[in-house]
Amino acid sequence: MDKKEYIEYVESRSKKSPILQNLIRAFLLGGAICTLGQALLELYRLFIVELKDAQSLVSITLIAIAILLTGIGIFDNIARVAGAGTLVPITGFANAIASCAIDTKSEGFVMGVGAKIFSISGPVILFGTFSGVIYGIIYYIASMIWG
């Protein structure tokens, strides 16, 4: 059996991730996080007049909750069930940063936490910023042409 045949053999027999189950769980738990976000927004709107300020505070609250749950070792257990449900909202980003910080503490605050805190979220930050720049240039040129 050559390499190609073996890879095909392994792929044909290995059990795949349960996609439908994962999708349903991600929908329910991700939806629950978004519902919580909406509830917080409604709550904050009672005290804060500016919509943008209230929205920022919702993001900050969700980040704080995700980091707290990461710190006390619960987040990964939820994420194991929720999958993309916790990964896609801002909670996943907060967890990616906080988990790196906790993990690298033993190597010190500078070369450990400082150097490695963005090791998972780094690509998101880099390419997020990069695509923002590209979008900005296109927007600038388009607005020059079409006013």
């Binding site: 059990k15 991730s17 990964d76 994420a79 988990s99 033993s106 998972i120």
Partner: protein, 331 residues
Amino acid sequence: MKDGIITFSRLPKITSYYSVVGSKEHNGPLGDYFDEWCEGDKFGKDSWEKAESEMQRRALAGALRKGNLVSDSLDVILAGDLLNQCVGSTYGLADFNVPYLGLYGACSTCAESILLASCLYGGGLASLCGAVTSSHYCSSERQFRFPLEYGGQRTPTAQWTTTGSGAFIIGGEGKVSIKNAMVGRIVNKGISDINNMGAAMAPAVIDTLTRYFSESTHSPEDFDLIITGDLGYEGSEIIKDLLLGKGIDIRKNHVDCGLMIFNRDTQDVHAGGSGCGCSAVVMASSIVPNLERGVIKNVLFLGTGALMSPMTLSQGESIPAVAHLVHLSSN
């Protein structure tokens, strides 16, 4: 050595052995058979790397104590783990003050250390050798995958690194002997999925076993157990299937350390255990004692290692693997 099979002019024996595990392993099906375990897996230390070293220290100290031996009686220690530069071994075993040879064979390290210790004793080069192996779930996750608290999902074929260390003392005394051994060849069949290491390592087992049965006078029926460590569910099914195609039927007597150490239904380990501590503690807790008591007579132990690094995987390389074979027999 004849046709790849190593036989010994004087027969090496397992003089003593000891196993140390973490709490998940203690809660598994073999929980009661381990010599020592630690709640929380920290072993009184403040980092996971130090915890792994402490496990190795306790394992070797335990094996010496059990065999009424002192560390000065050891001529050499052969030890390894999964961490870069084998720091689990170097920091853990430094205080024994015994000549040290570090090994890296990934999950094959236990078999590799027993094989080499047997060669040193069998060739008359040493009279007493230590063979120590460890892996720790937390230090391995950090090195090979993601931070511990990172929220991700594992695929059904992924394996769970065992937290454990096993030590064996190889010498002239003991009720279990190492009859012969075979060094594995590096086999790379193109699997590049770190979450399916069983499939990456299975071809190495098939290679070694096929060579062994064609070069020796033995057949699979001669063995009470053919034990691999650690292919998990996926790799185990592959070797049974593909070896059957080659006319070698091991379905009746094959077991896998990765499938023995955890309960796959209740412990969320997906395809089973892995890590070089897995086969070390399973052998030291369940297989060698049964050989000593004569419950089983002949065992073929194949340590299987996936010899990649996170860097080679990022560069798109597939996973090379090796399987070393040791034939254990009760006297």
